[in-house]
C-alpha cells in the first residue's frame, strides 16, 4: 500500500470515524431534547461534564476512557439534580438555574484543568472547545493481506517492536455508546415518545416521566463524554440540537424524524471532516481546519437549508401555500362578485375597474382575475369586461350560498346584528375541508338576513 493510503487509514480514517460516530450518537439522542423543548438541558449538561472529566483525569492521571466516563457521567447527573433542586427548593427560574449551574461547573472545570496542566497531566484546554479528533490514530499493518485479522483489530507488537493495529479505544467507546443508544431508543421508543409528547398521560399510565427523563439525561451525559475527544464539550451542543431540529422541520412522524436526524448527523460528521481536513488543500492552502468546527458549520447549514426548503415546514413551501390560498380567495371573491352583479340583472360582465374598487387591492383583483381565467371560471368578453363561464357560475353560486348561509347562521344562532355579519361571512365563505365547502344548514325556503334568496 502506498504512503498516502497508509496515512489516510492511520490518521484520517479513525478521526473521521470517531467524529461521525460522535455526531450520530448525539444527533439521535438530541431528537428528544428538541421535542421536549429542553435543548438547553443538553447545553447545560455539555458544559457541566467538564469538571467530571478533568477530575477523573487528575485522580487517575490517565486518559483511560472508563474513569473519565464515570467522572463525567457523575458530573452530568449532578448538574441535572442541581438544576432541579434550584428550581424546586430555591424557586429559581429554570433558565437562570441552568445558567448558574453550568457556569459554576464549567468554571470549576476550567480551574481544575489549569491545575491538571500544572500537575503535568496532558489535558489540553483546546480539547474542551473543539475536541482533538486528529489525535485519534490507528497504526495499521503495512500490507493489505494482514488487514482483516483479529490481531489487527485488537493490536499486537510487531517483531521490530512497533505497536501495530488495535482499533483506537475512543472509536470503540463511541461505537459501543452508539450501540447502547440505538438499543435504548428502540427498547424505550414508546416510553420516550409518550414522555416527550404527553408527560401527564405517561405518568397516569404508570410510566414515570421523571425516570424516563433521568434516563435520557444520563444517556446524553454519556454521549457527551465519549464524544469529548472527537468534538469537545461545546461543539457537541450543536450535534445534540441541530440534526434533531433539522429533522423536526422535515417531517411530522417521530420515526422518520429519528432516521432523518441520524442521516443528517452522520452527514455533518463525514462532510465536516472531509471539508475540514482536505478542503484547504483543494483550495491550495496549507494545513487543515478544525474538523469538529466544520462539522458544526455543516450541521448549521443543513438546518438553514431545511428552514428554507423543507417540504411542508420550509419557508418556500409555507410561502407557496400562502400564495395559493391568496389566489384561491381572490379568485372566489372575483367570481362571487360577478355572480352578484348577474343576480341584480347586470348580465354583460364586470370591468377590471369595478372589481378593483370593491376588492382589497389592485393586486388582489389582478391575482383573482388571472386565477379565475386560468381555471376557466371566467372569460374575457369584449370591451374589457369579464364574464362567468357555466363552470364559474356553478362555483360562484356555491360561494354566495355559503356566504348567505353563514350570515343566516351568525344572525340566528349567534345573535349578531344583521348589519354586522357581512365581514365575518366574507371570511367564512372561503372555508373548505377535504369534502368541499363548509357551510351551515338551513330550513327550506329561508331568506338570508338581508332578505335575499339563498341560491
Amino acid at each position: 500500500m502506498n504512503e498516502s493510503t497508509y496515512t489516510f487509514i492511520a490518521v484520517d480514517l479513525p478521526a473521521m470515524l470517531a467524529l461521525t460516530l460522535a455526531c450520530l450518537t448525539c444527533g439521535l439522542l438530541g431528537n428528544y431534547l428538541v421535542l421536549r423543548r429542553e435543548s438547553l438541558m443538553g447545553d447545560a449538561i455539555a458544559h457541566s461534564v467538564l469538571p467530571g472529566i478533568v477530575l477523573a483525569f487528575l485522580l487517575t492521571g490517565s486518559r483511560d476512557a472508563f474513569p473519565m466516563f464515570l467522572g463525567a457521567a457523575g458530573a452530568g447527573v449532578v448538574a441535572v439534580i442541581l438544576i432541579d433542586a434550584l428550581c424546586r427548593y430555591g424557586r429559581v427560574e429554570r433558565s437562570a438555574a441552568m445558567g448558574v449551574v453550568f457556569c459554576v461547573l464549567f468554571a470549576a472545570g476550567v480551574l481544575l484543568l489549569r491545575l491538571a496542566s500544572a500537575e503535568n497531566v496532558d489535558l489540553d484546554a483546546d480539547c474542551v472547545l473543539y475536541g482533538q479528533p486528529e489525535t485519534i490514530i490507528w497504526y495499521p499493518p503495512a500490507e493489505w493481506s494482514q488487514f482483516f485479522t483479529w490481531a489487527t483489530l485488537v493490536g499486537y507488537v510487531s517483531p521490530e517492536g512497533h505497536a501495530v493495529g488495535g482499533v483506537p479505544s475512543q472509536v470503540v467507546a463511541l461505537a459501543c455508546t452508539l450501540l447502547v443508544t440505538v438499543i435504548c431508543l428502540r427498547l424505550f421508543h414508546k416510553e420516550l415518545a409518550l414522555a416527550a409528547f404527553d408527560p401527564g398521560l405517561a405518568g397516569s399510565l404508570g410510566f414515570s416521566p421523571v425516570w424516563i427523563t433521568r434516563g435520557l439525561m444520563v444517556l446524553i451525559a454519556a454521549a457527551t463524554v465519549v464524544s469529548f475527544e472527537a468534538i469537545g464539550s461545546i461543539l457537541v451542543i450543536a450535534m445534540l440540537i441541530c440534526p434533531g431540529a433539522t429533522a423536526r422541520l422535515c417531517t411530522d412522524k417521530l420515526k422518520h424524524q429519528i432516521r432523518l436526524s441520524g442521516a443528517f448527523a452522520a452527514a455533518s460528521g463525514l462532510i465536516g471532516y472531509i471539508v475540514g481536513a482536505f478542503g484547504p488543500g483543494w483550495l491550495g492552502f496549507e494545513g487543515s481546519l478544525i474538523v469538529s468546527g466544520s462539522a458544526t458549520v455543516i450541521a448549521g447549514l443543513l438546518l438553514v437549508a431545511a428552514m428554507i426548503a423543507a417540504p411542508g415546514q420550509g419557508l418556500i413551501s409555507v410561502r407557496r401555500r400562502r400564495t395559493a390560498l391568496e389566489r384561491r380567495i381572490a379568485r372566489e371573491d372575483v367570481i362571487a362578485m360577478v355572480y352578484r352583479a348577474e343576480e341584480l340583472g347586470q348580465n354583460q360582465g364586470l370591468s377590471f375597474e369595478t372589481i378593483r374598487r370593491s376588492l382589497a387591492s389592485a393586486r388582489a383583483a389582478r391575482l383573482g382575475i388571472s386565477a379565475a381565467r386560468r381555471s376557466g371560471h371566467v372569460v374575457n368578453a369584449p370591451a374589457g369586461v369579464i364574464r362567468l363561464t357555466d363552470k364559474g357560475r356553478e362555483e360562484a353560486r356555491t360561494i354566495v350560498r355559503s356566504h348567505r348561509l353563514w350570515e343566516l347562521f351568525l344572525v340566528r344562532e349567534l345573535g349578531i346584528r344583521p348589519d354586522h355579519v357581512h365581514p365575518t361571512a366574507e371570511r367564512l365563505e372561503h372555508l373548505r375541508d377535504a369534502s368541499g365547502r363548509i357551510m351551515p344548514q338551513r330550513e327550506h325556503g329561508e331568506l338570508d338576513p338581508h332578505d335575499r334568496q339563498i341560491p
Binding site: 435543548s39 447545553d43 441541530c242 458549520v297
Partner: protein, 459 residues
C-alpha cells in the same frame, strides 16, 4: 492531546499567598496593575449584576449566553478584516466591534429561528450558540493557517485574561457601569412595568419592544466589555449569577438591583484579588466561582427564601401540627373513656398517630406552653389546653363535615383528609363553615365526629 508547549506551564505548583499579601491586595495596595484589574473586575460585576437583573426577569439569561458565544466568529472576522486593511488585527476596538456584530447576528438568528420555524426558543438558543461558536473555531483555524501567522491573542477572548486589563479598559468598564446605573435609574419605572406586567405595559402604550431591545443592548454591551476579562465562555455568569443570588434576599426590584450589583461587585473584587494572588489560576473562572460561592451562601442563608429558613419553617410547622394532633387525641380519648381525666401519654401519642419521638417532643412543647399538665397518673389538659384542643377538634370535625357534604368524600376517608387541611384554615372560611354546619354543631360547640372514634386514632 499531547501538547508540545505544555512544558512551559508545568513547573508551577500552587503557592499559597501570605496573609500580608492578601491584606495588601484586598486594600488595593498591591501595585498599579493589580489595583486596575481588581477595580475593573469589580465594576464589571456591578454593571453585570444590575443589567443581569432585567435579563433574568425577561428570561433572557440563556439568550445572553448564546450572544457571548456568537461573538467568536465576529471577533475572528474583525481580525481578518484588520489584517486585510491594516496588516494586523490586534486592535481592541475593532475586535470588540466585531464581537458586538457577532452578538447582534446571533440575536437576529435566534429571532429568525424562533419566529419562522416551529422550533422553540430553546432550540434556537442552542443552535446559535454552538453553530456560531463552531464557525468561530473554523475561522480561528483559518487565521492560524494564514500566512501572516500570529493569531494575535484571539484565544484570550475565549477563556479571558483579566491580568491583561489596562487602566483604560478599567475606565471603560467603569464608564459603562455608571452609564447603566444612570439608565436604569432613569427608566426604572418603565423597566419594572415591562418585567412584571408586559401586557399591561403595552396596553398603557409604553414602547415595550424598544425597552426590550434597550435591555438586550445593555446586555450586549456588558458581555462585550466583559469578554476580555472573563472570556466568552463564562462571561454570561456575571449576568446570571448575581441576580439569581440576589433573588433570595428580596422581592423588591429596587433593592434587588442594589443587592445584585453588590454581589456582582463583590464577586469581581474578590475573584480578581484571588486570581492575582494565585497567579496561575484563570481569572474568569475564579470570578465565576466566587460569585457562585455568594450564590450558594444566599441560597442557604437568606432570611426568607433561603433553604435553611424554609427548612426551619417546615420543621416548626410540622411540630405545631403534631402538638395539635396530641391535643386533639387527648380530647377524643376523654370522649372515649369518659371518667378517667388523666390520660396515658403513650395512648395519646398512639391515638394522635405520631411517632413516639415526635409525640413526646410535642407533649414537651405543649407542657412548656402551659397547655398540658403532668401528674403521676398521666397527662391532663389545662383549661387553656382544653380551649385549644376544643378549637382543633372543632376545626377537624367541621372539615370532616365539609369534605363529606361538599366534596363528597366517603366518611371512612375524611379523617385523614381533614388532618391535612385543618391546619390551613382561613378564619373567614371557618366562620362560613360554622354557619353552614351549625345544625350539626351542638355540645359545647363541638360537632360530632363523622366516623366512630377508635383508640387507634385512624379509622
Amino acid at each position: 492531546m499531547i501538547h508540545a508547549s505544555l512544558g512551559a506551564i508545568t513547573d508551577v505548583a500552587i503557592e499559597w499567598p501570605s496573609l500580608a499579601d492578601i491584606v495588601r491586595t484586598l486594600t488595593l495596595r498591591a501595585g498599579y496593575n493589580t489595583t486596575v484589574v481588581i477595580v475593573g473586575a469589580a465594576l464589571l460585576g456591578l454593571a453585570g449584576g444590575i443589567v443581569g437583573t432585567f435579563a433574568l426577569f425577561r428570561r433572557r439569561a440563556l439568550v445572553a449566553d448564546a450572544l457571548s458565544h456568537a461573538a467568536l466568529p465576529g471577533i475572528a472576522l474583525a481580525f481578518m478584516v484588520g489584517v486585510a486593511l491594516a496588516g494586523h488585527g490586534r486592535s481592541t476596538p475593532l475586535l470588540l466591534a466585531g464581537a458586538a456584530a457577532g452578538g447582534i447576528a446571533g440575536l437576529l438568528a435566534i429571532h429568525a429561528i424562533a419566529r419562522w420555524t416551529r422550533l422553540g426558543e430553546d432550540a434556537a438558543i442552542g443552535i446559535v450558540l454552538s453553530v456560531f461558536f463552531g464557525f468561530g473555531t473554523v475561522l480561528l483555524g483559518l487565521i492560524q493557517g494564514m500566512s501572516t501567522g500570529k493569531e494575535g491573542g484571539l484565544k484570550t477572548f475565549i477563556y479571558g485574561q483579566t491580568a491583561a486589563m489596562q487602566a483604560s479598559d478599567a475606565a471603560n468598564i467603569g464608564a459603562i457601569a455608571i452609564a447603566s446605573i444612570i439608565l436604569v435609574s432613569l427608566l426604572l419605572k418603565e423597566f419594572r412595568l415591562l418585567c412584571f406586567d408586559e401586557t399591561f405595559a403595552r396596553a398603557q402604550g409604553w414602547p415595550t419592544n424598544t425597552l426590550d431591545y434597550l435591555i438586550l443592548a445593555m446586555v450586549l454591551v456588558v458581555l462585550v466589555v466583559g469578554l476580555q476579562a472573563v472570556g466568552l465562555l463564562l462571561v454570561v455568569a456575571i449576568l446570571i449569577i448575581p441576580p439569581a443570588a440576589a433573588r433570595f434576599w428580596s422581592d423588591r426590584l429596587d433593592r434587588l438591583l442594589w443587592i445584585a450589583g453588590g454581589i456582582g461587585l463583590a464577586g469581581g473584587y474578590f475573584g480578581a484579588a484571588a486570581s492575582s494572588l494565585l497567579p496561575r489560576m484563570p481569572a474568569g473562572a475564579v470570578i465565576v466561582l466566587t460569585s457562585g460561592l455568594f450564590f450558594l451562601v444566599s441560597m442557604a442563608f437568606a432570611p426568607r427564601r433561603g433553604l435553611l429558613a424554609a427548612a426551619a419553617r417546615r420543621f416548626v410547622l410540622r411540630f405545631r401540627i403534631t402538638r395539635d394532633h396530641v391535643l386533639r387525641a387527648m380530647l377524643e380519648l376523654k370522649e372515649l373513656v369518659e371518667p378517667s381525666i388523666a390520660a396515658d401519654p403513650h395512648a395519646v401519642i398512639r391515638h394522635a398517630g405520631a411517632s413516639p419521638l415526635s409525640g413526646r417532643l410535642a407533649i414537651l412543647l405543649a407542657r412548656s406552653q402551659g397547655l398540658i399538665s403532668r401528674s403521676t397518673d398521666g397527662i391532663t389538659l389545662t383549661p387553656r389546653g382544653l380551649e385549644n384542643a376544643l378549637r382543633v377538634v372543632r376545626n377537624h370535625r367541621l372539615w370532616e363535615q365539609y369534605l363529606m357534604h361538599y366534596a363528597e368524600i366517603a366518611p371512612s376517608h375524611v379523617d385523614w383528609s381533614a388532618d391535612l387541611v385543618e391546619h390551613v384554615l382561613d378564619p373567614s372560611l371557618i366562620a362560613d363553615l360554622e354557619k353552614a354546619l351549625s345544625d350539626d354543631a351542638e355540645r359545647s360547640g363541638l360537632p360530632p365526629s363523622a366516623h366512630p372514634l377508635t383508640a387507634r386514632g385512624r379509622p
